[in-house]
Symmetry: C4
Subunit: 272 residues, 4 copies
């Protein structure tokens, strides 16, 4: 009996936690659809017209999702070896928090805060995708960004300093009539301009203000080259590092052989 | 007689389908002008003042284009070897769909849907340009984009996730007064900001909203570096690939030797 | 006497056309200041308040500039060897056109067209700067852009096609209420969005419109990577081409030696 | 006694001017917090609602900061070897100017100019960060930007010329109704569009204006590739420079050998 139960638990564990078997893959796909559906329900509920018209349907959908999430959560606890470790792990907490909002709303009403909690279900998507193949690519990107962390911090510091100083200058030049009512608001405008977003809710009116704004724009247009240069040179280097090794030929000392190369491409000596 | 007909068909086929002969080139140029004219007519027709004033001229122009397209379509069917295969090919369907709108409008009136159909004539331009020399360059670009497909998907997924989470946060902070009336609308705003488009139809009013907006902008300003880095490093690599040749080794069949390599880097055989 | 005149002409030619002597340099600097002043006068004249208040001063300044330009133009004709060739050269025409507007205005009044003609004086600046040292850098940039001309045309064609198709789709979805009154206007909006400019004078109102707008934005945000990648990979290649040569070592066949290298950096063999 | 005083002075000097000891580090951190607090006070004071409500608290905070800055300034003078050189150094002047605004306001009232002076305290942050490790990264960036100075000037000149010429064209086409009231304002609009900022406070209304605006946008969208390409290729090169070492040859003193080079590429001498 115990043997059988173990088998049963192991099989479920395989289906829920792994994606190697067809059943495991199907489980992941169903879960992905369920999560995305729950996100769409949250979004639609926030549209006023929709909420008023389909109140009941939204309620039913949300209960359905909550019940299915509850079952999944219980199964995850039951089938895992160390339930407590799962419960307090990052994804364990996300799973819990994705499940409870509807239960909580029974006691406290549909508070706004619950929306933020429910949108966190999005994070569950990443666990499923983690199993997918293309995570390797994302690792490469993350590595490139991490390697250029120091350069990016320096860049951010420079951008913020420019925003603070030029924001103050614009506050003094333009004044409240043009929307520059305070230094923080002027800094906000400078960031809007420097990043080339340009809402237009605050815009300089005086000649001097427009002149400095032009400087800010050209500055912003130019310094976008810096993060781009950083990431690109990092990606180019990683790309090169992956494809060639630094092994030098015993005979002629030539380097940068392809990883798969067995002979020096210069003099034909066996590399091993 | 049959011989003669064949000659006649073959010559027409050469003119219509190929661009090697002067006649073929001229046919392509005339067709290009016709297609572009038909597009201009569609566009001008959509301008209300113009449509009312020149109703008749537009009608005549459209009929002229339709008749010429009809003749071309019939000739294409007649001169091709396997007419059915042409009719159901991608460009065959485009040709058909480019020709019929005016005939259809005789029975159903000038419906709006027909505009979309007529604008599809643009796709015919690509067949003509396919014959042009610079398609090689476009292949290089497409190859670079295809090679970085996985990295770009990861990037898009990250952008959409950021837009969903920060959009929800902005919805909760700003509320309907500032235009953040629903989560989908807030996500729309986040994308507008993250991509540095910045319409300004929706803009944060509260201090906290403006602070988070600033974060979104700097984020968007920074992460534009990522697709740029991806495509650039890919193009740089392809550029280098051109410098390696596709000569395969006599011994082991290995490829991708440096242009100046004298020995196969796989088995050490002399390449010459 | 003739000898003397020749000397006098030669000296003036040296001052006016060359920048090697101190006098020639000073002449260029004075001319540069004069040209920039004349541009500032044109600009200030276009500001209504300023024009009304300082009408007379502007008039005097413009006459002064015109007379000095006239003297310079006559001297250029007198001192050059082939006056006719100069008069009909690119810069000769620019010089002529820079000088006459004030004379013309005596007969026809200050027409608007003359502003455009007077702003063309800006082009005179480039002749002076051509003599400056840093033109080499600009040549490098122009070379990089020229080398990637074909790729850039393909890119532009793709951008315009996307703008036409998506512009038509937006015209059909949004309609005139949101500002999408005609297809050309919709295409204008698509370009505004695709290039991440985002004025906000036309902005989608419906959900579907905002969804497609989001797609356009992310598309525009992404494809900016393409021209950047093209120019960058071109500049990187040119940079590399300048610093290393393709001479291979007689002994070990190694390549990519620095231009100044006299010995192979791999095996120490003399390269010459 | 003198010995003791010297010790005392030396210790304080170490704490204030250096960051090697724990006390020195703590001093820097406290100073950093103090400077950032003073900046926040300046910013909050510019928010009208806040200024009216918390007038007194702001006053107290500002006095507290001023007194602490005064003590620090006096200590810096006392502990440094050459006080006069410090007082007239860049950071010495910044320190002085950061300290006095509140004293000045006792005599002249809280003038607007003092805000600009007080925001300059931000510059003090950089002295502290100079001691931090990641300044090396910023040096790399500055070096890359400095190396591409000439290319960037050419680029800026081109951008400004385009802005002047197209701005004038737009002024002539659109006229004052659409907001193009003068040439400087039109140039301002062209820069707003070319840099893809796009406020929308001025936007073309006529068909021709929108057509030229589209050209400006695509131009701006494309030429952003140029500074990006410049900085990226520079960073990539510097990256490579790191892989060549600065070891000088024993024989001819030549440098910039590849890290793995065994022979001098100038004279052929073995490097080891």
């Amino acid at each position: 009996m115990k043997e059988k139960e173990r088998n049963w638990k192991e099989k479920l564990h395989e289906i829920i936690y792994e994606a190697d078997t067809p059943a495991g893959k199907n489980f992941d796909i169903v879960l992905l659809i369920l999560i995305l559906s729950s996100l769409i329900v949250v979004m639609l509920e926030s549209v006023e017209d929709f909420r008023i018209q389909y109140q009941e349907w939204i309620n039913i959908a949300e209960w359905l999702i909550t019940i299915l999430f509850s079952i999944e959560y219980i199964l995850r606890i039951v089938t895992v070896n160390k339930p407590l470790r799962y419960v307090f792990s990052f994804y364990g907490l996300i799973d819990f928090v994705s499940t409870i909002p509807k239960y909580v709303s029974l006691f406290f009403g549909g508070a706004n805060v619950l929306i933020a909690v429910r949108i966190l279900r999005l994070l569950r998507v990443f666990r499923i995708l983690k199993l997918a193949r293309f995570i390797g690519e994302s690792n490469l990107l993350i590595k490139a960004i991490r390697a250029s962390r120091a350069k990016i911090s320096v860049f951010l510091l420079a951008v913020i300093s420019i925003a603070v100083i030029l924001g103050t200058v614009m506050y003094l030049i333009e004044g409240p009539e043009a929307g520059f009512t305070s230094i923080p608001r002027s800094i906000y405008w400078t960031i809007v301009t420097l990043t080339t977003v340009g809402y237009g809710d605050i815009a300089p009116q005086t000649s001097w203000g427009q002149f400095i704004a032009s400087v800010v724009m050209i500055l912003g247009y130019g310094i976008i080259a810096v993060p781009t240069g950083i990431v690109t040179s990092e990606l180019t280097r990683q790309d090169k590092d992956i494809r060639t090794n630094t092994q030098s030929c015993r005979n002629c000392g030539n380097e940068r052989h392809y990883n798969k190369a067995e002979f020096c491409h210069q003099c034909g000596t066996n590399l091993h």
